[in-house]
Subunit: 330 residues, 2 copies
Amino acid sequence: MKYRVAIVGATGAVGQELLQVLAQRKFPIRSLRLLASERSAGKTLAFEGEQVSVETLRPDSFEGIDIAFFSAGGARSQQYAPLAVQAGAVVIDNSSAFRMHPDVPLVIPEINPDAVRGHRGVIANPNCSTIIMLMALEPLRRLARIRRIVVSTYQAASGAGAQAMQELLDATRAYLQGEPFEPRVLPHPYAFNLFSHNSAIGEDGYNEEERKMILETRKIWDDSAIAVSPTCVRVPVLRAHTESIVAELETRPPLATIVDAYRRFPGVALVDDVARNHFPMPLEATGRDEVLVGRIRYDAGTPNGVALLACGDQLRKGAALNAVQIAELL
Amino acid sequence: MKYRVAIVGATGAVGQELLQVLAQRKFPIRSLRLLASERSAGKTLAFEGEQVSVETLRPDSFEGIDIAFFSAGGARSQQYAPLAVQAGAVVIDNSSAFRMHPDVPLVIPEINPDAVRGHRGVIANPNCSTIIMLMALEPLRRLARIRRIVVSTYQAASGAGAQAMQELLDATRAYLQGEPFEPRVLPHPYAFNLFSHNSAIGEDGYNEEERKMILETRKIWDDSAIAVSPTCVRVPVLRAHTESIVAELETRPPLATIVDAYRRFPGVALVDDVARNHFPMPLEATGRDEVLVGRIRYDAGTPNGVALLACGDQLRKGAALNAVQIAELL
């Protein structure tokens, strides 16, 4: 059985990564349709040695499509995903448009694969920071219920798209040459600088990225009581997100049991070399499928706390890989 | 009254900053002696328009000195600070050598100025991450006792010295030019990368920087019960440390009272513009005396929690400025 696949937002950072992941995992593709805004139409993208033309996204783009990956922002998903479903496709949506909709499964295949069963045409891919955090905590959660998570993120440029990655490079080059640089994509200077995540802040003081981490965690783990205290920060790194996490558990498993659980868990790689001071780093997470986890230790501040550092490629497990894994579940 | 001042480690990043801070604050200097290792002897450094020669640090370097600032690493402080005290000088030590010694006051002038009174010749300057964290929390602590702190740091290159700052620039330039670069100062590639703080890790899984934040907090606040859960990370930023902090209080003051307390506290500048998404950033903290504080909000995860983001110039308030303020207290 092979599938007719469409990618909406094919020219974006996640779209490009989707093409790579589909090829690397030998996803059974019968036909591939690349869709993007009018601006990108006519471009061609390489897939398995062939050049595929990018077509303009239109209401009738989904005729004869089995699986449509959406990665072109929430507004485009809102408008076109229902049309794709109507045309008979299953939509795997990387935007936040449908994530909290009660009829839409929000899935990390290693964590809640069974959730896909109830889908009505749309399956949502969680936020990248959420995916990396929950992958990094799932082995722990299987040992003891997690009551509370305090997390600070170190998010890469890639989360704001290919243009933001280019801006980081351009801004840094200008800085090193002593030339002025005016930010175009991100709201603040990015060269050798960091800033609170550039999403809107609500009345409770939390920005959208942080709110996603709170709400999506509750939905994916099906635990409305879990407390999440996130702070999301953008750092001058290209494409892997790092997270500093302290989790408070109901009981405290032996440290050896915890480390062993991380060693066995699929999709997680233990990088925890205390002697060499070698732990998860974005440069080493880049291009890898696994979420790297290390610095695993009992929290100095609470009796049942465990602290760790996690790092995952925002474009792979944080986006494209997780989406393709969802398609594989189907 | 004017003082005969010596600076040990005058050519280092903190030493250079000490010269600037002494000049800017018009510290009453009668004479200035710059001391460094043999390697730097013979160099000259500018101070208030004059060139001052750097002398080799020797056991007899402290004859006739009133105040000696030490910023040349723990080993040098261990060896020479007692000699300076013997010669009649008061030592203000920026290293970690004496910080936890019961006879040595550990002082942040805005927080525990009275502690200097008990000194026996040596006064210790706290670790830079500790200073920035406690400055960012002191206004809160005066409203309600803090039970626990969870903190993740985003530490700049400057914390590892001037050579590390140069390595960040060189490594990044090489990366942008597609050239290989071998790290010399720091243990990991630094261009567009981050890594767990490069200090040795103990049996409890905490590294030295984190342990300093735990122990120094207890000493400065004279609160042996306070729980601190730190994670220290080095980010590709030149010279201001950022910290993401969640504090759990015994009671929960009104948010307006909290914000007002920050507005009034000396040495803290409130940077909390929600509408413009403008919060503390290293680029804006660089060169400033104040610790910038923003993103102040009730913690989503605990009833009496307050979350915030702080950013302070590691070389100024994190080191040189605090040391000079201690000297001013005397």
